[in-house]
Amino acid sequence: MANNDHAAVAHDHDAHDHKPHGWRRWVYATNHKDIGTMYLVFAGISFFIGGTMAMLIRLELFKPGLQFLDPQFFNSMTTLHALEMIFGAVMPAWTGLANWMIPMQVGAPDMALPRLNNFSFWILPFAFTLLLATLFVPGGAPAGGWTMYPPLMLQGGASFPMTIFAIHMMGISSILGAINVVVTIMNLRAPGMTLLRMPLFVWTWLITAYLLIAVMPVLAGAVTMLLTDHFFGTTFFTAAGGGDPVMFQHIFWFFGHPEVYILILPAFGVVSEIIPTFSRKPLFGYDAMVYATASIAFLSFIVWAHHMFTVGMPLAGQLFFMLSTMLIAIPTGVKVFNWTATMYKGSLSFEPPMLFALSFLFLFTIGGLSGLMLAIVPADYQYQDTYFVVAHFHYVLVPGAVFAIMGAVYYWLPKWTGNMYDQKLAKWHFWLSTIFVNVLFFPQHFLGLAGMPRRIPDYAVQFTDWNQVSSIGGFAFGLSQFLFPYIIWKCVRGGVRVGNRAWEGAHGLEWELPSPPPFHSWTDPPSDAVIQRGAAH
């Protein structure tokens, strides 16, 4: 459905593009597209580093007994894999997409705070260099899990303060990025771009940004308390000194659960952009989608203790957190219903972004349903710390968040480069990913229900078969991901030229700009007619 009409007439303002060249363009970058590109490249590199760690984990778990990895190193791999994927891959990927798309979608020339934007990005490489450097210090990398529960975390060696410092840097980067997003959306929208005309991706990112500002300081507080417990003699989490290790879990998950929605809300936005385009219909229930997103964000603050039902809490507490967790199914159900209703009687076509969005719809729903099972307190007593939990959150995060990121890249790549990518190869990428993500994670439900605990390098022999299936799925999924950077690289180098509206059913201001867009997006705000055309939700 590529539009080959060479309609990409150079924007008037191209003539005024004073684009810096060489390394200065990237180190001193203040342009939202350049910074967005750097975020996306950084996320891609982190995805492959974290993926390598996952391959090592699956390699060790291919057979019972200890094969390749020392148990301490295995634990470091599970810990670093999570930190790398959450803070290094998914969050920067969303920030990269926000940088690229929000100014174009709201009719702004750039992000509101370009220098702060540069600073937000450049903190990240230092934070992750520090985190990965822990692999080479005495005592090895952190091995207490990404949740950093004391007292285990407090037993870390030289890696402990390095990890805490890296987390502070990631947190500051995220908060500054979030401030930039909020200020851009609230102040730089083109005249006529009212809040309820904004694309869903912008809405979901606005809500995500508020979540980030609210909860990243909580994580910073929690890890700083760990630091003072370790080095300055406080006993926040040490029972012997009057502290409470369970308190850490409460504080951590007060951050951690909204963090889950920080990872997934922008995915809802992306899917809400893609499905209407390839259904050639407006999004069903736009207002309801906005309110559902806000409801999910609100509920994310009052469900945190469902991560810790088994620590021993009063029955009233268990009931409250069980019921509040189940409430999340309502706004999430509204979303799934609306996406389905958007497709109903639509003129569907199945280009790569739509395939990823559909896969998201089915597989994220599986992750959501296993989440509901985990929300049931007596059932959770059985599932706690088993592979069922691992299966659940990987269904939410891989075919959920990661597939949405891939769908977003396949959706907007023609806009960014002006070229259509190799759709056949992208469909290969999709089918291999979708088949093997299920081979990888679905058997983990069975392993968990059969009682296999998570975060162990060895297991009882009866778990062998499904672990082997899962590992084979993991290797195949991992290998198939090399198609993704190849397809992008090939597209950046050239391809069939596309017009402004790369997909015939696409709506939104970004499709009114040339492909590729000018260095500064909307130096003149779009007219009301253009906004109305774009806002045909």
């Binding site: 303002h13 005024h16 203040t30 020339p109 750039d110 509101a112 705070l113 370009p114 702060l116 947190g171 500051i172 908060i175 401030i179 909020v182 200020v183 609230m186 102040n187 730089l188 005249p191 500002i213 609210a214 990243m216 300081p217 909580v218 910073a220 507080g221 700083t224 308390m225 003072t228 406080t234 006993t235 926040f236 500064h520 130096t523 003149d524 705000p525």
Partner: protein, 45 residues
């Protein structure tokens, strides 16, 4: 950045951007530092 002179009221918009950025920055800093200080202060009592 080509903000100046492009928006209908560029000066007002620039002031609004600054005001929002400072407000959110202060809120985030108070959250960030305040939470840490509050915890340490409570523990020190």
């Amino acid at each position: 950045m080509a903000l100046v002179g492009t928006a209908p009221d560029a000066g007002k918009r620039r002031r609004d951007v600054r005001r929002s950025a400072v407000l959110l920055g202060v809120i985030a800093a108070v959250f960030y530092v305040g939470f840490i200080v509050m915890m340490i202060w409570r523990a020190a009592r």
